[in-house]
């Protein structure tokens, strides 16, 4: 054991001397690794930072399960109902003439509120409306809600830019408007806006608050109003509800629970994964690209190390021969060069994560305007320890692989061939 340790110590000494006696070569090999890892840290930090940021606002502003009446869902045709055994062809079948109403919503709500897996439930009425802006009309959406229940699910309080949620309760004809929409309509808190329903009814409402969730797709079209008021302007009764939003205690359970609810209630129950499928795929692809780019950079660095080590071994052929003649075994010689490549890898990786950290920090301080799409004033960058550890592991693995083949070759050198050649 001690023999083995002292032998390794000796290989370490020789490796150090080799590295130090060719500083330029060592530094260039190291910088290859540094560059690869630095880029990896900066890229992964930025990519996952953006992903997490958008995921955060998307997830907090969308329900875990959304129950609604999907009137476009294909249904069995009349022909199939009366003639179930026949060979029926119904071309270009249209939806039935029915409203988006959820029948028996109050019973559904009762059941849902008793379910222990569910954190909160909020009924809602959604309708397309036109916002009148002088002579022109802007297409948008109005949601009739119980504003405090909505707040429990989506934390609306923290999204308010002007006004208070309670003002909506106090003012029946009030409306809380998305910031993008308000800007387009040139409205501020306290102003009045005229809306037109699809059925052609108009109503003048007072803007009691302005919210900003941070996603253009919501802030530019949506307003919240009192449920009873929306029922009135749509000329519907008190039981009229079009959507039920649900937040779960454990979001990962959404898929099975949604399936269960859909089976029980017959209405469409959509989980957040399905609703945000494109977004989740996008995140996934961005992560793959980041890893692919970093991996490529590291492979290039690996080739650099491979080359330099090969060159060193070529130049040290005589030294290797004499070491073997003196009694160094193949494994001793191999470890001399393996150590060199691992030292290059470790130093390169440590410097790399430092560079990566500095780059990430600079990026996180750089001003950036998210425009209408997302409300951002600088890049969100992740500084997770996980990525720094991954970087070091990446660097060491690449250099170990790159160093292995030349080192093995060095260990196998036949001293006689070299000594005789002189």
């Amino acid at each position: 054991m001690s023999r083995w340790v002292s032998s390794l110590g000796l290989s370490l000494t020789i490796a150090r001397v080799h590295l130090v006696s060719k500083p330029k070569q060592t530094i260039i090999a190291m910088l290859g690794v540094t560059f690869g890892i630095g880029m990896f840290i900066a890229l992964i930090g930025l990519m996952t930072g953006l992903n997490d940021f958008t995921e955060e606002i998307t997830m907090t502003s969308s329900p875990d399960i959304h129950i609604y009446n999907d009137i476009t869902e294909s249904r069995p045709s009349l022909l199939e109902m009366v003639n179930p055994q026949g060979l029926n062809v119904v071309h270009n079948q249209k939806p039935k003439n029915e409203t988006a109403k959820l029948r028996g919503a109050s019973r559904m709500l009762e059941v849902l509120r008793r379910d222990s897996r569910i954190y909160g439930v909020a009924p809602m009425i959604t309708s397309q409306v036109f916002y009148n802006f002088g002579p022109t009309q802007l297409n948008g959406q109005i949601q009739g809600v119980e504003i405090l229940e909505e707040d429990k699910l989506f934390d609306l309080k923290s999204k308010m830019k002007a006004g208070k949620l309670e003002d909506l309760l106090a003012f029946h004809e009030g409306i809380i408007m998305g910031s993008g929409l308000a800007r387009k309509l040139n409205l501020a808190k306290g102003d009045r806006v005229v809306i037109t329903t699809p059925q052609g009814f108009t109503r003048t409402l007072k803007v009691v608050g302005i919210f900003q969730i941070g996603i253009g797709a919501v802030d530019n079209v949506r307003s919240y109003a009192n449920m009873s008021m929306v029922q009135t302007i749509l000329q519907q009764d008190k039981s009229y509800v079009t959507d039920i939003n649900i937040k779960l205690n454990n979001r990962e359970m959404a898929q099975p629970i949604a399936r269960e609810l859909q089976a029980n209630f017959v209405y469409k129950a959509e989980d957040w994964q399905t609703a945000n499928a494109t977004f989740i795929t996008g995140n996934y692809i961005r992560n793959i690209i980041t890893y692919a780019v970093s991996f490529t950079l590291l492979v290039v660095a690996g080739f650099g190390i491979y080359n330099i080590l090969n060159m060193t071994i070529y130049n040290k052929m005589k030294d290797i021969a004499i070491l073997k003649a003196m009694g160094f075994a193949g494994v001793d010689v191999r470890s001399i060069f393996m150590i060199q490549s691992l030292v290059i890898g470790l130093l390169g990786a440590l410097l790399g994560i430092t560079v990566g950290f500095v780059l990430s920090y600079l990026i996180s301080k750089a001003p950036f305007n998210g425009g209408d799409v997302v409300s951002l004033d600088h890049f969100p960058v992740n500084f997770k320890l996980k990525y720094y550890i991954t970087g070091i592991v990446f660097g060491l693995t690449t250099t170990a692989i790159a160093g292995y083949m030349p080192s093995r070759k060095a260990g196998r050198i036949d001293p006689i061939e070299i000594l005789r050649g002189q």
Binding site: M326, G327, A329, P415
Partner: protein, 222 residues
């Protein structure tokens, strides 16, 4: 006492064509003997030395050093054996250029790992003194003359007190003055320190003054 014994050593080269380079070589070397190996160029002296030094294992016959049979041993075993029992000096010094004289001499002992670093250093200085090189201990090896470098290489070969010191034309690259110095050192090592030495040489003068001259011709010992 026999330090080295061979029995029927035979070796072939197959490239470019099958060619028997060593033919049934049997010899014995006694402790403290100073033996020179001579013969025409190409007769197989170096090849025999590589076999004796355990670096070349591709031969038939038996090889025994310090009472140990070395045929069919693993490469790792032979490396450790060389480290402890054999010192080798070449025509060229083969010192490691990045290390000092002292470090070069210490290397085989560090590899052996039986003594502390301080003890090894003391012993290295001792060996350098024996070769009159102690005052150059801290120099880089490329700051020395050819003769001085060869003396450092001899000190390095002696550091683990080997049973046999082997040399393949150890004075082949030296002028007559330096050859003389190296020869005198060898002479002193064998008489005073009972060091066994086998040296290949082309120098008749050198050979004549050794204890025994073994002549080779065409792969055979005459």
């Amino acid at each position: 006492m026999t330090v080295l014994r061979t029995c029927g050593i035979t070796k072939y080269f197959y490239d470019p064509e099958k060619f028997q380079v060593l033919k049934n070589i049997s010899m014995e070397v006694q402790r403290g003997e100073f033996l020179s190996l001579v013969g025409k160029s190409g007769c197989g002296k170096s090849t025999l030395m590589y076999v004796l030094s355990t670096m070349d294992t591709d031969f038939e016959g038996e090889l025994e050093i310090a009472g140990e049979n070395l045929t069919r041993r693993s490469q790792n075993y032979l490396a450790a054996f060389r480290n402890r029992h054999i010192g080798f000096v070449f025509q060229f010094h083969y010192l490691l250029p990045e290390f000092t004289v002292l470090q070069n001499v210490m290397l085989p002992a560090l590899k052996l790992g039986e003594l502390s670093k301080a003890e090894i250093e003391n012993r290295a200085i001792e060996k350098l003194q024996l070769l009159g090189m102690a005052e150059h201990a801290r120099k880089k090896t490329n700051k020395l003359s050819g003769g001085q470098q060869q003396r450092v290489a001899i000190a390095r070969a002696l550091i683990n007190n080997p049973d046999v010191l082997m040399g393949d034309e150890p004075t082949g690259n030296l002028d007559s003055h330096n050859s003389r110095i190296v020869f005198d050192i060898f002479r002193e090592l064998t008489t005073v320190h009972k060091q066994t030495i086998i040296a290949v040489t082309h120098d008749e003068e050198f050979a004549r003054q050794t204890d025994r001259v073994v002549e080779m011709s065409d792969g055979r010992i005459l």
